[in-house]
Symmetry: C2
Subunit: 337 residues, 2 copies
């Protein structure tokens, strides 16, 4: 399982070359580009060994070698050093964040865009659900006769809302007093503590204006359900068109399809990602993503786990992707403190 220094050098050369060109790499190319002090024939012998060990493969007999998934795996685990991205670019991102700090959605969108631009892969951010947020404020707003708005605000400034029907004779003052009641009951509780059963209990308790309250409670219930959903933000899908592996329209279609429905991508990301940068290569992913690689890292946001990373072809510049994902993750981490 452990390779000697020369084999490592050769494997590394082949990986760098192959990632850059997407072409099989021959023995001559290895000695030429990385001027090792050995001949092509020696390299050939070594390459044959590496192939036997499973780190390389040969598309056909008279072609050069390309790294196998196992080869990439070995490189990533045992040889790779993350490439740090220049301080100034990070400064740009920090700048952009502080400019939009008022609006979490915008910050997230910016970060995703930054990540995809720098890496030139497709970036994603999984924004955790808001279970742990505190209830801050509820308001019933009279819109038009027979129609009101339930508005729920969390301590993070997240806003959820839903329209409800009300009996036409309910006045603004009525709504206000009902709202006050809700606020008293809910004050400062965590969203995930407001369970369906609580709502039911509250419903029983209240006799007056049952109709409004019923509808409002239903609306709140639905809002809370939504709050349990993670969101996924994606940026840089087009970057994939530059990768020669997506010349194949079928691959491209599968990839785009995966992104089209929110849920699909979420369920296909590697599970159990901790705070470290994690790399998942080709068939290590689920069936749907078996010819892509994912570089992903976790971040904590108010007690919940979010994820950030990039998706690219197996032939990915892992060193650059990992370095960038790590740096951006750290910035997010900072931001949440």
């Amino acid at each position: 399982m452990t390779l000697d220094e020369r084999k490592r050098k050769i494997l590394q050369s082949i990986i760098k070359d192959y990632v850059a060109t997407a072409e099989p790499v021959g023995s001559r190319a290895v000695v030429r580009k990385h001027d090792l002090k050995i001949s092509a024939a020696t390299v050939r012998n070594e390459m044959a060994d590496l192939e036997e060990m499973g780190y390389l493969e040969q598309p056909h007999t008279s072609a050069g070698r390309i790294p196998s998934e196992q080869g990439f795996r070995y490189y990533v685990d045992c040889m790779m050093e993350n490439e740090h991205l220049p301080e100034e670019q990070l400064e740009d991102l920090k700048q952009a964040i502080t400019e939009h700090v008022r609006d979490l959605d915008q910050v997230i969108a910016h970060v995703a865009q930054f990540l995809s631009q720098i890496t030139r892969y497709t970036a994603f951010i999984v924004v955790p659900s808001i279970h742990a947020s505190q209830f801050r404020y509820l308001q019933l707003i009279h819109l038009n006769p027979g129609e009101a708005l339930v508005l729920l605000v969390t301590n993070l400034g997240l806003i959820m809302h839903r329209r409800i029907d009300i009996p036409p004779n309910i006045t603004e003052e009525d709504l206000e007093s009902i709202g006050k009641l809700f606020n008293q009951v809910f004050a400062r509780r965590r969203l995930d503590a407001l369970r369906h059963t609580d709502l039911q209990a509250l419903k029983e308790e209240l006799h007056q204006r049952r109709r409004v309250i019923d509808n409002a409670l239903d609306a709140i219930d639905l809002l809370l359900q939504d709050s349990h959903e993670e969101r996924v933000v994606i940026s840089g899908v087009l970057n994939m068109l530059n990768e020669p592996e997506f010349k194949d329209l079928e691959k491209l279609r599968r990839f785009l399809h995966l992104l089209e429905e929110e849920g699909a991508i979420k369920n296909n990301l590697p599970q159990g990602v901790g705070e470290n940068v994690n790399i998942s290569i080709g068939s290590e992913n689920s069936e749907e993503m078996k010819d892509m690689s994912v570089v992903i890292a976790g971040y904590r946001s108010f007690g919940e786990m979010g994820k950030i990373g990039v998706i690219g072809p197996v032939r990915m510049e892992y060193w650059r992707a990992a370095g960038t994902v790590e740096a951006v993750r750290n910035i997010i981490k900072e931001m949440f403190q």
Copy 2:
């Protein structure tokens, strides 16, 4: 400029065939498929005429003919009848709308999805800005010490919000009283009547708690700016991958690029669309969309003009697209009444 009956028949045959197969159509195919009572040779003569008039073109000498953009234009203007889509499908859509009537965003998303699914092209909906909405309600909500939320609700139930900084000694009660003040001043006015200068004037008028009010006014100002933006909702991008014209990766990239930035697509849609269904073929569009066609119709929503339609290749089933766009537009129209 006017064609005799036989030429029209031939043009129509060629269009139908070409749209279905994406292959040049020969003279034999025309007589065979549409059993006209004339021979292939006659058709050839007519086709030569049609080519000279600019309605057909020939990819190369020994190939069949394909309709030119002018040919499509003639067909659309002078021969086409919209194909109506089955009542039951429309019912499905109406059903879906009434189910989600609580949330305008969801309805829009549904309609777009429906349109793209039925036509198998890429659907878009331009949701007009909300200039004409009425101000309904403003609330200042205390989030955390030093931080509050400005919340603005329109009579349509649209919600805009923004976080602001406040001096840390401001209490919830303070915010409430300031909010009341705003509400009095703004009550029932139209959003587009709340101009920057008004806000400035209000600012001058108020002496107390200047800091909070300043920040809130700034926030409102920004929210109003946003409210002037149209939104574009897009669905069914992937449908394009089925069209053989997008085998060409360069075309595909240009198209996806256009969709990637919100603004780009908005600015490239045909201008001056009225309530009728409008068709814009190939180079009649802006440079960026010169090999696509757009079928578009307008709808009125609270005094503002919205647009709905589909984008497809020039080789589009205009009759089906136009029929569907029209039907869906009518449903939207109904919904807004």
